[in-house]
């Protein structure tokens, strides 16, 4: 017997999140880095930021979430938004 049923999923509302305009170049820009605080993350970020400084003469603003399991507090986002041209963040261990 045919059945009709409803979709159980919900997506994020479309249109709310948009990509920020891309930087034409990284040269001499201020790049924010938000560490998630996992072990060894500094190993990756130290090398990444060193390369960016070497190649593009960027200024680095380094921040870290106070606790791994939670979103970074508003103050950190405000700091990054107000002082940086771009931000690097990620998930990893």
């Amino acid at each position: 017997m045919p059945i009709e049923f409803l979709d159980p999923t919900a997506d994020a509302p479309s249109g709310k999140n948009r990509l920020a305009p891309r930087l034409g170049s990284l040269d001499s820009k201020t790049i924010g880095v938000l560490s998630n605080g996992r072990p060894n993350v500094d190993f990756v970020l130290d090398r990444l930021t060193a390369k960016l400084e070497e190649r593009h003469h960027v200024k680095i603003v380094r921040t870290m979430k106070p606790w791994i399991g939670n979103i970074a507090p508003k103050e950190i986002f405000d700091q990054l938004r107000s002082s940086c041209d771009a931000v690097i963040t990620g998930v990893g261990d």
Binding site: M1, P2, E4, F5, L6, D7, P8, A10, S35, G69
Partner: protein, 374 residues
């Protein structure tokens, strides 16, 4: 009540084919579901007096809104009855309360909320508070837990294919809804948390996997039970020193033994808070004591030194000068909540109390009122 549902519709030739649609699209948790037809979903919304578009909870960090319609759809899928809807709504309100800090559910440690129901609603919907409490056999216990799990899977990315990085997973997603046995002289949990006995509430608190964790107390004697628990509780999560809100469940026969000697739930709770401790030597033996990096991870485990056997750290109190060996330093200011919830439940024979291990630093318990038809 005329109910207009806006979710997309799918068709299948029959029940079996409908199951394959759910499995193929990743909408199932691995078990068959009840197909959420319009009539079934409408029944849930009508029972609770909710409009389909009513927002039950928001998860801003995932840019998601959880509506009554989506909750009802996933509750139907789980096998719930319409009369469970008020409890489901309260559970979603609690889990999406900012104090619960939803996003921590993505963590490597596989946290998941334990849902504890108090008040008259528990008996009204026949939610089990007794024998085999954390096992299968009672429809409301399993389907309410499953309904919440499916909702968060399908509408908030709480799945391994989404934003869920849990190493081992958590069976509370199926078994994590229980009622408290309120037939003993002990004060029910919701009353201890400030509510009236006649109110119905849902309390959620995030737990590491392994629930229920048994604490075997061979003798049905208060002193023996308390000493056993105080010695055991610090170590139910291996070499991780637990911070946050623990729960302890006692069976009614254990409560009776306490009551005979004048112990109330309040005095039992206070005794455990005051006396649960570990020596530094034992913490070092269990690999829980270390020098920490700036990020708060263990860089160097420390050897036992003379005098360590006689120095203690208390599980439910500020560790003072010992903080820097046990907990992440940057987290202290903002989340120093230690508490113990004591709950009555389970069978009325047996030698085990039950504990849960808190996902302490990342979350707080939340209690919400269960509201009947709105």
């Amino acid at each position: 009540m005329a109910t207009k549902l806006t979710s997309k519709r799918y068709q299948a030739e029959d029940y079996a084919e409908a199951q394959e649609v759910f499995f193929k699209n990743g909408w199932s948790d691995g078990l068959p579901v009840i197909p959420p037809t319009e009539n079934r979903v409408a029944d849930f919304l009508d029972y609770a007096g909710l409009a389909p578009e009513q927002v039950v909870g928001e998860v801003p960090e995932r840019n998601r809104v959880l509506t009554a319609e989506k909750l009802a759809i996933n509750a139907v899928m789980a096998g719930c009855l319409p009369e469970y809807m008020p409890v489901l709504v309260a559970a979603v309100e609690a889990i999406t309360d900012p104090k619960f800090k939803f996003n921590h559910l993505a963590s490597l440690g596989s946290p998941w909320p334990l849902i504890i129901v108090n008040g008259p609603i528990a008996k009204q919907i026949e939610l089990n508070s007794g024998i085999y409490l954390f096992g299968p056999g009672h429809r409301p216990n399993l389907t309410i837990a499953r309904g919440i799990s499916l909702l968060l899977r399908n509408c908030a990315e709480a799945k391994a294919e989404g934003i869920q990085r849990g190493q081992w997973g958590n069976t509370l997603r199926f078994m994590g809804c229980v009622a408290e046995n309120e037939e003993t002289p002990w004060t029910p949990l919701h009353v201890m948390l400030g509510h009236q006995r006649e109110e119905s509430t849902v309390t959620v608190l995030s737990c590491y996997p392994g629930v229920p964790f048994h604490i075997t107390c061979w003798l049905l004697q208060p002193e023996h039970m308390l000493k056993t628990i105080c010695e055991t509780l610090p170590y139910i999560n291996g070499s991780q020193w637990n911070e946050g809100v623990h729960t302890l469940f006692f069976g009614p026969h254990q409560v009776e033994a306490f009551v005979k000697e004048g112990w109330t739930k309040e005095s039992v709770r206070q005794y455990i808070i005051d006396n649960t401790k570990s020596s530094i030597a034992e913490l070092k033996r269990r690999q829980a004591w270390a020098v920490q990096s700036e990020e708060g991870f263990r860089e160097e485990l420390l050897e036992i030194e003379p005098g360590d056997e006689d120095k203690y750290v208390y599980l439910f109190k500020d560790h003072g000068e010992y903080n820097r060996f046990l907990v992440r330093l940057t987290s202290i200011a903002d989340r120093w909540i230690h508490d113990l919830f004591v709950v009555v439940g389970g069978g009325n024979a047996g030698q085990r109390a039950i504990a849960t291990s808190p996902y302490g630093m990342s979350t707080n318990p939340v209690i919400k009122l269960v509201k009947t038809k709105q």
